[in-house]
């Protein structure tokens, strides 16, 4: 490699070319980002579509919030049939209360539901390592809703800088966006069923119980967001029901639900249905897809039960 002499023209050449590269990158980022944004918001089904729909279009009387357990445990069509209310399931896999708060914040700009079921898991209140500080699924909404922007940039100066890239907002979503602009995968108003039964043989070999070995420390930020979620709902006169739905393991330690959620429910005088170790569900392999998720059969049975409770607790008194 022949070295140029140490001259100002050499540095000027370098600076000019770096500038040229930056201009091209910014141009491609802007054009590519705009194209992806357009495609993202024109998806016709899939996980990302359901998030957008929940935030910007859903107008049901009863909204279900939570993570994968919310998404796979509550059947809207069955709830509608049994309660007479319109229902939409906003639950999303691998998300926690921060995501739920974001969805609610945007949703309230166009619609106020009458009821919210908030299905809580340990991840909603406890410290969990290896998870991002905010839901990545919210990135595409950064430039679209100020509430989302504030949530992402909260305690996240680095993300603020990264968000200047429009392409970054759609990081890891390319295939999904392309697929769901073409493919239509029906869902039951947000609910996605799980089929199959848990393999109890594997459970015996399974040394790693992520529920029992959970580092039982409350995450102050998540707890803060949980309080904010409930307050926001109550301020908008939404009736909130907290639920901890069934899990398979019989030896699950449910201290988190007693100590944390129970305390919050008492503070705001909310109904809290702690069904984590529920007779008829827990330990029944026919109703579970895996240790923490009901299968479709289990979801229907559980939804029926919830519908009965809603009718008895709320609707009969209205």
């Amino acid at each position: 490699m022949k070295a140029s002499s140490f001259t100002s023209s050499s540095r000027a050449t370098f600076a000019t070319r770096v500038l040229l590269l930056l201009v091209i990158v910014i141009f491609l980022d802007h054009v590519g980002g705009s194209a992806l944004e357009s495609l993202y918001f024109s998806q016709i089904s899939g996980l990302e579509y359901r998030t957008r729909y929940a935030m910007e279009e859903a107008d049901a009387d009863l909204m279900i919030f939570g993570s994968s357990r919310a998404n796979h445990h509550y059947v809207p069509s069955l709830l509608e049939e049994k309660t007479g209310m319109s229902v939409y399931n906003c639950g999303r896999d691998d998300e926690d209360i921060v995501y739920g708060y974001a969805v609610l914040s945007v949703m309230l700009k166009h619609h106020t539901p009458r009821y919210i079921i908030l299905d809580l898991t340990p991840e909603d209140v406890l410290t969990s390592t290896g998870r991002p500080s905010y839901p990545r699924s919210l990135r595409p909404y950064y430039g679209r809703h100020p509430e989302i922007k504030d949530l992402i940039t909260l305690n996240n100066k680095q993300e603020t800088i990264k968000m200047y890239s429009r392409l970054y907002r759609f990081n890891s979503l390319l295939l999904t966006i392309l697929k769901y602009n073409v493919v239509h995968e029906p869902d039951d108003k947000g609910y996605t069923p799980r089929y199959g039964e848990i393999d109890t043989g594997d459970l015996e070999q399974d040394r790693d119980s992520d529920l029992n070995k959970q580092d039982f420390r409350v995450d102050p930020l998540k707890e803060q967001v949980l309080h904010a979620f409930i307050r926001k709902a109550l301020q908008n006169r939404i009736r909130v029901v907290l639920i901890a739905s069934p899990i398979y393991r019989q030896d699950f330690r449910n201290d988190w639900s007693d100590q944390v959620v129970g305390r919050i429910a008492a503070r705001y005088r909310l109904v809290f249905w702690d069904d984590t170790c529920m007779s008829g569900f827990t330990g029944n392999p026919r109703l579970f897809y895996d240790r923490t998720h009901l299968n479709d059969r289990g979801a229907h049975r559980y939804t029926q039960l919830i519908a009965n409770r809603i009718n008895a607790s709320f609707l009969s008194s209205n």
Partner: protein, 476 residues
């Protein structure tokens, strides 16, 4: 401050600008300050250890250089004890303590020593080896001791390579650090291109592959033999893309500043034997092991003949495995390679004869595939979380159970993983056989070339895993 962090994106341009604006004779001070700041960004307290280690080795080097060679041995021995002791103390004492406890517990003997948990200082495995190399070369007389403390400290702490190598040789790096290189457009461009390639390998290829590998290897009991085979092959490429990506970034960074680091990888998956593999994989470590461990051992055991060579190989690579981490899985990783190298040594002549009888193409391709398979087998131990998992994975791979299901998981992860491997092989094949890279990258029109470079950045933004995950070799 990892290479793939946002802080580094700001740190480097500011440093480079300052570097070339600083009068050449003071640049060592700027680089040394930057290197220490870089190191402190991990854990500030350990910079004291780095400084202390640097000072001791500097003084020992000066002392050895000022006396006759036959009187240097005791200083070398003391310094080696110091350096190895540091490494042992921080990295291995809890491992050996726990191992002793478990053995004695098994024998129903009470062991009262408390559990020891020390945070391993970042880069200690690398900079310790680097200083040991310096001391041995000074002892042998092949390296003059460095009198300028600043340059020596910079040699030890040079930020592009302190965390995960390449392990530099004093004769290669110290003269460069003193050379005061001038600004070179070609070097800047070449360095940036190398960095871009490194980031692409790490963020787009390695971290995507990691998603599939982690899902399988963190739960091997739930996965079938075919799934474990695929995950193991994926891991081989993941580790290569991760580590060679890191090295590319390190080399690119150093090149921008005017320095050339040792090449650390040379298309290792084209190797036709385990010996060739170690001539192409982590070259700075394998040559270090050859020069400072294997050669002295084989001289010590020379009277044992072939058995002496085998013993030297096995011992060297078992220790090499242990160098990677204080776990039995790494020891077994090293041992497997030691066995492979021993096989190479014992069968070298017969393989040579076989090569003459079989068509070259057939022999080479078969040798590459068998070597790759063996390397992947060794990587099972490298990646598995426990020894039990490693043996379980091996057993599942080798036994055929009907029906064997295949784990797909998120299809996009699988597709991206395959695409990543294809991209990596595309680059590697072109380099191995000296083929031209993509014509567009060599276009005579500057805008076309720069559009290509920009596309690499676009792909990183769109497909890269940008949550600042660690490089694998950071943990060593």
């Amino acid at each position: 401050m990892a290479f793939n962090s946002l802080q580094f994106m700001f740190f480097l341009p500011i440093l480079v600008a300052g570097y070339y604006l600083t009068p050449p004779r003071y640049r060592w001070l700027l680089l040394l300050t930057a290197s220490y700041l870089f190191y402190m960004s991990w854990k500030a307290e350990y910079v004291v250890l780095l400084f202390f280690s640097t000072l001791i080795n500097y003084l020992v080097g000066l002392r050895m250089g000022s006396i006759a060679q036959d009187k240097r041995k005791k200083y070398l021995v003391l310094a080696l004890i110091f350096n190895v002791g540091l490494l042992f103390g921080f990295k291995y004492v809890s491992f050996f303590n726990e191992t002793i406890r478990q053995v004695l517990q098994h024998l129903n003997i009470f062991y009262a020593a408390p559990e020891i948990r020390l945070l391993i200082p970042v880069g200690i495995s690398f900079y310790t080896f680097q200083t040991i190399s310096y001391l041995i070369e000074v002892y042998r007389g092949s390296q003059e001791p460095e009198h300028h403390f600043g340059y020596f400290a910079l040699f030890v702490s040079f930020f592009p390579q302190i965390i995960s190598g390449p392990i530099a040789r004093p004769s290669q790096l110290i003269p460069q650090l003193k050379s005061q290189p001038s600004f070179s457009y070609e070097r800047m461009a070449s360095g940036l291109q190398l960095m871009a390639l490194g980031y692409f390998k790490k963020l787009v290829i390695a971290d995507r592959l990691a998603m599939y590998v982690n899902a399988v290897y963190d739960n091997p009991v739930h996965h079938s033999g075919p799934t474990l085979v695929v995950a193991t092959v994926f891991f081989a490429f993941q580790l290569y893309a991760d580590f060679s990506g890191y090295t590319d970034i390190a080399m690119g960074t150093a090149r921008i500043l005017g320095y050339e680091l040792i090449q650390n990888f040379r298309r290792p998956f084209f190797s036709r034997s385990i010996q060739e593999f170690w001539n192409r994989w982590h070259i700075s470590l394998s040559t270090w092991l050859r020069d400072y461990l294997y050669t002295p051992l084989s001289l010590t055991f020379r009277e044992w003949g072939t058995r002496g060579i085998i013993a030297s190989i096995i011992l060297t690579f078992t220790l090499a495995g242990l160098w990677h981490g204080a776990r039995f899985t790494f020891v077994l990783f090293g041992l497997v390679h030691g066995i492979g190298l021993s096989f190479d040594a014992l069968t070298a002549k017969s393989r040579k004869k076989l090569a003459k009888r079989v068509p070259a193409g057939v022999f080479n391709v078969t040798s590459m595939l068998l070597t790759f398979a063996y390397v992947c087998f060794a990587f099972i131990f490298f990646r598995a979380n426990t020894v039990g998992d490693a043996f379980l994975i091996t057993r599942k791979i080798l036994t055929v159970n009907e029906p064997a299901s295949f784990y797909i998981g998120d299809i996009s992860v699988l597709l991206f993983s395959l695409a990543g491997i294809a991209a990596l092989l595309f680059i590697e094949v072109r380099r191995e056989y000296n083929l031209k890279m993509l014509p567009l990258f060599a276009s005579r029109y500057i805008v076309v070339r720069y559009f290509c470079y920009a596309w690499v950045i676009v792909l990183i933004l769109l497909l890269g895993v940008l949550d600042e995950g660690q490089f694998i070799y950071f943990q060593f």
